[in-house]
Assembly symmetry: C2
Homo-oligomer: 219 residues x 2
């Protein structure tokens, strides 16, 4: 029973890794779509998000089945509840990659981010791809070095988000309302994507160490 | 054992109602702070959000304890897992009310929403307070009439959100970058607040009927 349960728990973990891989791919494609106004790639991200949603539901059903049939306690219970929560964070990350792709599609053939702020967005997107890559590795290995990397990328993203906000708020900013709205939302989407990455990092850290480090407010 | 569990489950439900009440109060205050640039009320929303976060953690710990000690199955299990998820939605609603309060505080003594769009924001905020009120009633009574009301308010909010987006994207929009960023984010915060309300409505409906109606995409 116990061995079977461990096998089930491992399968649940593998499913999370699979979703994380799809989220990473989604963010990689969304980045390129956003930076090059590649509308076909944007469409791919948008349509492929359904697969992430489907897999999240599968993880949740599997987790609930494990709770019902195995009645796990202590560490095992927290692992199953953790999987439920992480699947929810990963699903949101997929949604946010989709939102970025949708912005790229909406502004096609223009680029969503205007020239003066494009470099900052490039950095933000690179950090978000890095967050997704580290989340996938963290879930696959449970090596805390990846949790720390996620937190570091998130700090950089928060700084870029604040910088974008300052840019848009400065008196020299003269872009249209449409562009300003795009920039504001895109920056928020990237920032939220990374927040959810930190949320996954916190859960894995907690499951591995019993400590809520890295303590970072995620909202 | 079974009776004790039912009492525990009821206590868990009562805690969710308590959180929902605090979320409603937060949105009521955030609305007034946003509409009247009342910085003290904004401060209250911001500081009181910690209480919602605390209660969410309490619900989650209680739910995990119930899973560990009672090993519930079937409907009872889904009720406990549902509580875990609903507490997460309510906590996010509290965060979003706080974000709206933070916008009011940042623009003080100015109003965050400029004149041409103020009426639409007033409607949005009213619908959000209504969503919060219906969520509280739904959790207290499990009467599906409140779930339906939440969905209706959400439809209205989505329409106002689209209208705001159109306004900001129109050629006649000539507000500053700062104002445009505020309006864009505030509209998104209200819209997300209602989405989480729908998410709670879906979970309660599922628990009560076994059906995923009202089926509305929440992301």
């Amino acid at each position: 029973m116990r061995e079977l349960f461990q096998a089930d728990l491992k399968a649940l973990g593998d499913q999370l890794v699979e979703i994380a891989g799809l989220v990473r791919e989604a963010m990689e494609k969304a980045r390129t779509a956003f930076e090059t106004a590649d509308v076909e790639l944007a469409e791919a991200v948008i349509s492929e998000d359904a697969r992430i949603d489907y897999l999240q539901t599968a993880v949740d059903e599997k987790a609930i089945e494990l709770l019902a049939l195995q009645g796990p306690v202590a560490t095992d219970l927290r692992a199953v509840v953790g999987a439920l929560r992480m699947s929810s964070s990963l699903e949101r990350m997929g949604d946010l990659a989709r939102h970025i792709a949708q912005q790229a599609r909406r502004r096609y053939p223009d680029l969503a981010a205007p020239e003066p702020i494009r470099g900052d967005f490039r950095q933000m997107a690179d950090h978000c791809v890095a967050v997704a890559t580290e989340v996938e590795k963290l879930l696959a290995t449970h090596d805390m070095v990846h949790a720390q990397a996620i937190v570091k990328h998130n700090v950089a993203i928060n700084e870029l988000h604040a910088k974008n906000f300052k840019t848009v708020n400065s008196s020299s900013w003269d872009a249209s309302g449409a562009t300003t709205a795009d920039v504001t939302l895109a920056s928020r989407f990237f920032e939220r994507f990374a927040d959810h990455g930190v949320s996954v990092a916190r859960k894995v850290t907690y499951l591995a160490t019993g400590e809520w480090e890295p303590v970072i407010e995620v909202d």
